[in-house]
Subunit: 244 residues, 2 copies
């Protein structure tokens, strides 16, 4: 069997960040460095892989090159392989021009990533890299199938958030229960009952109260908590599921 032409391989990364009063955000980059273009074309950070490069390394390289972000948590979540995914004429032409290759088909391996947003200032990202944080509910039309990749990245995060301690990657080391609730709500996309949430959290041995409170706030200072990952691992080693 001769398979003929091989598809190109790329990686695309959905980078989620969280800001207390603004909820969950996603990092998008401007496709064209040329700011003079009339219409802005936005995309997820991503790139074709280089010969011999491993996918995970490629994703780290791309993030470093396109956003300056390095050494972050990356989770592979899906492969987007529709042969028609590049069909938009103008976007495909752009890809052919920038890659210098007569690309026909690209199969992309999608990752999602979680970063503490306050580590990456808007100004720096935008000045150096043409990158910007967008609220999830104000993401415009992206190139190719990037809206679909983002949507599937979010639904994977929502699902994995329920069983894995992912939200602590978006929070500061010390956080209040209020912050934990806000991040849970941002990820899930709906509000939770305050009292029940507080009750539930207080039962979790791996969310540990500190003898330390907020300072310089106008309301009653809230207590700080930390996430004890070692305790979490020990408790989670006792498997629990819907049958066993």
């Amino acid at each position: 069997m001769n398979t003929g032409f091989n598809p190109h391989i790329s990686v695309d990364i959905v980078v989620f960040g969280f800001e207390d009063n603004e909820g969950l955000k996603v990092l998008l980059i401007n496709r064209d460095k040329d700011e003079d273009k009339k219409s802005i074309k936005l995309k997820l950070p991503g790139s074709l892989i280089i010969l011999s490069e491993r996918l995970h390394d490629s994703a780290q390289r791309v993030l470093m090159e396109l956003t300056g972000i390095k050494d972050i948590y990356l989770k592979q979540f899906a492969v987007f392989d529709n042969p028609e995914r590049l069909k938009d004429g103008e976007d495909l032409q752009w890809l052919r021009n920038t890659s210098g290759t007569n690309i026909e088909r690209v199969i992309t391996i999608a990752y999602y990533s979680l970063v503490k947003l306050y580590h990456y200032s808007e100004t720096e990202l935008s000045k150096a890299y043409n990158a910007r944080w967008y609220n999830l509910d104000s993401v415009p039309e992206l190139i190719f199938d990037h809206n679909e990749i983002l949507a599937e990245g979010l639904s994977t995060l929502q699902k994995e958030f329920l069983t894995e301690p992912l939200c602590f990657r978006l929070l500061p080391g010390k956080f209040t229960i209020n912050q934990l609730q806000r991040i849970s709500e941002s990820i899930l996309g709906f509000t939770l009952d305050n009292r029940n949430f507080r009750k539930r959290i207080n039962k979790l041995e791996y969310i540990v109260p500190l003898n330390e409170h907020q300072t310089g706030v106008s309301h009653k200072p809230a207590r700080y908590y930390i996430f004890d990952s070692k305790k979490f691992e020990i408790i989670n080693r006792e498997l629990t599921g819907f049958i066993v």
Copy 2:
């Protein structure tokens, strides 16, 4: 950026089957149709994809061609991309010969699949397709990184088994609690306490007792149960996780 040479893309499928008294099995095929070869080289069912083919379609096609199995549940679980994964000289030569292409690198998209083993008779599989069921604890060395793909497929199944009703794909429509326990144990790789298991199952509304018992058995006939997927969906819509 010129990415130069594109890797080939393949799919490989870990097909799990279950037999009551023998536990979980995996379907392996003989690499060489030529039975005269001294040493048998075993592999997972898999193939390079064809131009324009979607990965999922490719996996279904490959299973049909190599094992006669069609229209089954397939779950994509990982991408194996190590540039060194084909390094074995003799195996790589075989791949080049059978594909008619000077292959350098293959990135493979791995799926796992769950089938009711008794639908696929050993004789038929082996006569027509050179395929055979192997107990998980007696899988020999496979070509390339197929042992690693199998191991990761199994650990994904073990994890997903805890939250998704996957085991019912391996069981007959009507099953006994004993069968359900045996399949849970086979997947998890350890034994469960009989009494606790029975107690737990009896609490689950979506595992429904029938007014029907085994016949023609020498021991006390056990009651049959069915899995009610609609009830399961309704109950599982109420999200539960470690925080909310």
